[in-house]
Amino acid sequence: MDILLAIAIMALGAVVLGALLGFASVKFKVEGDPLIEKIEAILPQTQCGQCGYPGCKPYAEAIANGDEINKCPPGGVEGVQRLADLLGREVKPLDAEEKPKQIAIIDENTCIGCTLCIQACPVDAIVGAAKQMHTIVAQQCTGCELCLPPCPVECIRMEVIDENIDNWKWKYPVVEIKAAALQKAA
């Protein structure tokens, strides 16, 4: 009799807790994968495709599924470091060389107004119309270089963003090490 009671109590407990869990899983359902979002937040959102995926989100998904973390040149070594910290993986050297931040510039004398670069730009940073001169909105340009290959007259070039007073940073204080004067032998 006792054993039956115990089984009944356990069964009742199981049913109640199961119902609670079921309710919680419906009520507190997490939309999407939070890990992918975290990875995507670290990626630089240039949408350049240098990682081999069509945009930062697909690469974030690929990383979450086990792809390498060192395929993003715009993110740089620091990006790899942060991804490694997030995912608990080992830091690897970058798969390509790291470039300084740059933006695209259209040579407006050469541009023929073909609109091919406008279609290629992932962030709509190029303004222009068919047979009209095009130009790049510098603030929006991510420097992804996707507009370079489609241009039939090669009028787009990349320019490194120079240091100016607005983006200048204080340098890390360096301790100067001076060579001590050699002591003369007595």
Binding site: N164, I165, W170
Partner: protein
């Protein structure tokens, strides 16, 4: 008036070194050989240049137009010719260039038409607008456009207005001399601010090492007939920090990430009040300021200097000692060694100190932090500099923010007291600018992401729209065809109905339904055939027709060419030629 003063925590007492430069009255600095006026001299938007090389300008003429609400206009400091609008090295720790207007003075120093204004008859909005157009900015060092601080908060009543004449930084005496010699105009300028903000009390704080300035201000307040309180505060660096002076005079502590206006307090520098008065009552925009020239020089004193004067020319007036090896802009606590001695004086330049190793001995090397806590005791903002130092050094910027690094005013008290001579402020500046850079990058990335997602959405929508349009067009076409076919089918049906009048009404409809499908198909086939025929006709129409109507000579030339091409095996011989002949 007896008043209960409050204290702020921390602070240091460096040697003041002020007596050297107060002995002589303010001198007007002579016209320099050229003036390099940077356009971006205040916080906020970068003013747009409105002059070009070759333009003649008068003293006080607008050369840079304010861009946006938080921005202040820039004016020509003297009459002359604009030589250039170009990049020049700035009095900035980076030593980088920025856009400047270079003016060659004509020596006449001829003013524009100056219009004194009666501000009592103007609306507050007009007064603020005029101050912005006159380039009035905070001359205490932060160069925040003054008009931006002159709007009273709608939610918090304005309790006190604090006027900062503390001038706590060593060596600097320009505000001291200004109050001694031009107190009345300062007081009238404070009157303008008072009328715009309508505070309950106006408190003028002056450190007690400037009794002459305090006396002059008291006399001026009495002479003008105002009820401002001139209060001497204990000499303790950094009592001249806005938050510190507010604390000392009102007992209110401005919390992190809040502004003094949230507590009903607003703070202005005495020199700002003076320039505001000159702008309103004399129509003179800010084209000059008082600069203390001191340090390793024979005759330290205060000069009224045109904005844009090269620093080396100004320093020469005070006859520097030959061993001078640099110029510090600002005081010894918060100033910096300018990257080049030719950089211009700007609105933020309150002091030039000729640098040499006797006054500023080279710092002994940095030693490890011993966690003595002296920096925390000296910090006037009650921060923990040693913790911020560890995290800045380790580039752990998130942690530095947890220790409120952005409340640090970079006063330098912590570096001053550090027994290990650690340049703490440099670490904090490094951490702050890294955090700002990251913030900028994050914003850019977020923006890029939204724009990318929007582009994808747009492309998808366009695709869907196009597909829908095509489907609609196809449906319309099909409906039209069906209608035509039905009409075609209806004609024979009608004919048959006529032939057999005994048949019932719905019968023809029933019979026509079956042939309608066939008719539709037939119609489709017919249209396809018609289209093909049209295409064929078109193709034939565009065939080259230059082979017709040839003269016999041309015909012969053409056949010669053909023969040669055949001989060279360039083309297959004409199909008319029998294959056997080719091998021969």
């Amino acid at each position: 008036m007896l008043m209960n003063l409050f204290k702020f925590k921390g602070g240091v007492k460096p040697p003041t070194n002020k007596t050297q430069s107060v002995g002589l009255p303010i001198a007007i600095a002579p016209l320099p050989s050229k003036l390099v006026v940077p356009l971006h001299q205040s916080i906020g938007g970068m003013p747009r240049p409105v002059v070009q090389a070759g333009d003649k300008v008068l003293k006080g003429q607008l050369i840079g137009e304010a861009d946006g609400r938080i921005s202040a206009a820039v004016h020509a400091p003297t009459s002359g010719t604009v030589v250039d609008v170009a990049m020049h090295i700035q009095p900035h720790p980076s030593g980088l260039d920025a856009l400047c207007v270079v003016i060659e003075p004509d020596g006449k120093d001829e003013w524009i038409d100056r219009q004194p204004l009666d501000y009592a008859a103007m609306s507050p909005e007009q007064v603020r607008e005029h101050l912005q157009q006159s380039g009035v900015v905070g001359l205490g060092g932060a160069v925040f456009p003054t008009h931006g601080k002159l709007t009273a908060s709608k939610t918090v009543p304005m309790e006190e207005m604090v006027i900062n004449g503390a001038e706590c930084e060593p060596f600097i005496t320009c505000d001291d001399l200004l109050m001694r010699e031009r107190a009345e105009e300062v007081v009238r300028g404070i009157g303008i601010f008072r009328d715009l903000l309508r505070p309950k009390k106006v408190l003028i704080g002056i450190e007690d090492n400037k009794p002459e300035a305090a006396a002059a201000m008291r006399a001026a307040v009495a002479a003008v007939g105002e009820d401002f309180a001139v209060i001497q505060v204990p000499t303790l660096y950094p009592a001249g920090g806005a938050k510190q002076l507010i604390r000392v005079l009102t007992g209110k502590e401005v919390p992190a990430a809040k502004r003094s206006t949230d507590l009903g307090v607003q703070c202005f520098n005495v020199a700002t009040a003076y320039t505001a008065w000159r702008a309103i009552a004399h129509g003179e925009p800010v084209v000059s300021r008082l600069v203390t020239v001191t340090g390793n020089v024979h005759d330290p004193r205060n000069y009224e200097v045109l904005i844009g004067t090269p620093m080396d020319e100004l320093l020469k007036l005070a006859r520097p000692h030959p061993d001078t090896d640099g110029i510090i802009m600002g005081g010894p606590m918060m100033g910096f060694l300018v990257p080049d001695v030719h950089v211009p004086v700007i609105k933020a330049t309150n002091c030039l100190i000729a640098h040499d190793d006797r006054l500023f001995p080279p710092k002994a090397p940095e030693m490890p932090c011993i966690r003595c806590g002296a920096c925390a005791q000296a910090c006037p903002h009650e921060l923990q500099p040693f913790e911020m130092y560890w995290f800045s050094r380790a580039k752990n910027f998130g942690k530095t923010q947890e220790y409120n690094i952005f409340d640090c005013i970079e006063c330098g008290c912590c570096s001053f007291v550090c027994p290990s001579r650690i340049p703490l402020v440099q670490y904090f500046r490094f951490a702050k600018s890294e955090i700002w850079a990251r913030e900028r990058e994050k914003n850019a990335a977020d923006q890029a992401k939204t724009r990318f997602e929007f582009k994808q959405l747009r492309e998808e929508r366009e695709k869907a729209d196009k597909a829908e349009k095509l489907a609609k067009a196809a449906a319309a076409q099909a409906a039209k065809k069906a209608a035509e076919a039905a009409a075609a089918a209806a004609v024979p049906a009608d004919a048959s109905a006529e032939a057999t009048p005994s048949a019932s009404g719905p019968a023809p409809a029933q019979t026509s339904a079956v042939p309608a499908v066939d008719a539709e198909k037939a119609a489709k086939m017919a249209t396809i055939e018609a289209a093909m025929a049209r295409a064929k006709a078109q193709r034939e129409a565009v065939q080259p027709k230059n082979t017709e109507n040839l003269t016999s000579e041309q015909q012969r030339a053409a056949s010669d060419i053909e023969a040669r091409r055949v001989a060279a095996h360039l083309i297959e011989p004409e199909p008319a030629t029998p294959a056997g002949e080719k091998t021969e």
